[in-house]
Amino acid sequence: MLHLNGIYKVFNEGTPDEKLALQNLQLQLKKGEFVTVIGSNGAGKSTLMNMVSGKILPDAGEVLIDGQKVSGVEEHQRAKLIGRVFQDPMAGTAPHMTIEENMAIAYGRTNRRGLRFGVTNKRKAFFKESLETLHLGLENRMTAKVGLLSGGERQALSLLMATFTNPKILLLDEHTAALDPSRAELVTQLTKEIVEQSKLTTLMVTHNMQQAIDLGDSLIMMDKGQIIFEARGEEKRALTVEKLLNEFQRIKGEKMNNDRAVLA
């Protein structure tokens, strides 16, 4: 479903701030596969997400979605195929518009916008039905401005809006990181339910190792713009935080030894 082939991305090339954010990145997601992504700050996780969404374009390599090459397709065009939830709960919704208006905008993701009313009775019924699955009571507040919702509610709404039109790819970039533990737990649970139910092909970044292990079919670990560790299927299910940390130490150590060897 999602293919990334030989992706390179350099920021501020030729300056002292030069940063090789992605180097020769290879990644494949099968249809319906749920992959969690971990890695230290600056490892290139968000850059990877932006590469898929089209917010940034690769310096080399190509991105394919459903066999279709999208590396040159503009972000808003590509968005027809992709649902996104950002880390900031404020980022995924329009605060001065009502819940139903926000949902109407999300609903418009897959088709061409016209002069039809955004919120019709028929759509309202559908929005209500979708909101009920969140169990937050938002279905009774559909004409409330989204800015009045709490961060957790907004993030749950963002998640719903990103997914209820069944995108081919779902991108979640630390979408629970800004929430308090109980809210984060709620949104995590919702994520699990929605992704399983709609069988969405999902890429989820998280800093929470336990979460990365608990969720999804596969796990990848990134460092310095590369995927340094991948666990799929049985191997993924057998993972524990301890094993993951050991793995990380081992790979890092090896790399360091290699670097030393090169430098010596």
């Binding site: 808003h76 027809k80 329009a94 605060p95 905008i105 418009g108 009313f117």
Partner: protein, 332 residues
């Protein structure tokens, strides 16, 4: 006095269309568009030159609307394609329009007093209906008979046109495209992630806004009986004044309410300015100062009332708490 106030409502109604345009950019798109000062005159110029050259006033007024639309597109493209900062895009087009407007008119002032305009046509058609006599009869009956307006047609026609535009705008802002335009002003990254071309939304919003502004300019030229190269000066502040006064007094909870508030704000603004100019020591040149003071007043008003409300709320709550505490102690 009555005539002056009556006229202030007439022009307030026409300027309200311009203010609705300003509302669309400043409030909905969150784009401080200064093109207005130029496109207002563009509308006046296009209408005036076409009327003088024998075109039907209706065609001339619609052409003015189209010219404003194009001016808005220009500012929009400069910003979205050229990545020029919003304020600067507007200023550049405004400056360019000054020369273009001079070219359109061929001179810096076109009188229209001897011409058949949209407004004289309306007045003529209206005069035949005899409604004026009825309305004036009513005024006389309630004892206001000493200074009757010459015609009610302008005020009523403008009321109809302005309200039609207000309704059209409210409906448009609820369509799929309208929602996308509003969201572009509210959270650009969000609508982009839902596959809206935010650049196009901005261009469209600016185009509609300046079309309304130019339309208003065309009507004002016909109302005042001339088009003048300097008539756009300060227009943006007048538009903003209407928007801000409207919000302060009538609120802006929903789109319908906010757009109605803009019309109300425009009427109040022109009314207050007219009254102020009646004061002996104030002169025509003081209008801008009065405008600034009105806007500052309208900006501060919500601050003050909000502060009061919070204080009152806190005081009430505190008393409740103290009361609870006391009754608890007594209960012991």
């Amino acid at each position: 006095m009555f005539t002056a106030v009556f006229n202030s409502f007439e022009s307030g109604m026409i300027y309200a269309i311009m203010a609705l345009g300003v509302y669309l950019t400043f409030r909905i798109l969150d784009f401080p568009d200064l093109t207005v000062e130029g496109s207002f005159v563009t509308g006046a110029s296009v209408a005036a030159i076409m009327i003088v050259n024998g075109y039907s006033p209706i065609i001339a007024t619609l052409a003015a609307l189209g010219a404003g639309f194009l001016a808005g597109i220009l500012t929009g493209l400069l910003h979205t394609k050229g990545k020029v900062n919003p304020l600067l895009s507007g200023i550049l087009v405004m400056i360019a329009l000054y020369s273009i407007n001079l070219r359109i008119m061929g001179t810096s002032n076109i009188p229209l007093l001897s011409q058949k305009t949209l407004l004289t046509n309306i007045q003529d058609a209206w005069a035949k209906t005899g409604i004026d006599d009825v309305l004036n009869g009513l005024l006389t009956a309630i004892g206001l008979g000493d200074s009757l307006p010459k015609t009610w047609s302008i005020l009523l026609m403008m009321l109809v046109i302005t309200v039609l535009i207000q309704v059209g705008m409210s409906v448009f802002l609820k369509t799929e495209i309208g929602l996308a335009i509003r969201a572009t002003g509210d959270n650009e990254a969000m609508v982009k992630s839902f596959s809206a071309h935010t650049g196009n939304m901005k261009v469209l919003g600016l185009a509609i806004s300046n079309a309304l502004v130019a339309f208003s300019g065309a009507l004002i030229a016909q109302y005042n009986g001339f088009s003048d190269i300097g008539m756009g000066i300060g227009m943006i502040v007048i538009g903003l004044a209407s928007v801000i006064i409207g919000e302060a007094i009538f609120g802006a909870k929903t789109i319908v309410r906010a757009t109605l508030a803009v019309i109300g704000g425009s009427l109040i603004y022109h009314f207050v300015v007219t009254l102020a100019l009646r004061v002996d020591f104030l002169q025509t040149g003081d209008v801008k100062l009065i405008t600034a003071l009105i806007v500052i007043g309208a900006l501060l008003l919500p601050l003050i009332t909000e502060g009061r409300k919070v204080k009152a709320r806190k005081k009430k709550r505190l008393m409740e708490l103290q009361f609870d505490h006391k009754s608890l102690e007594e209960g012991k």
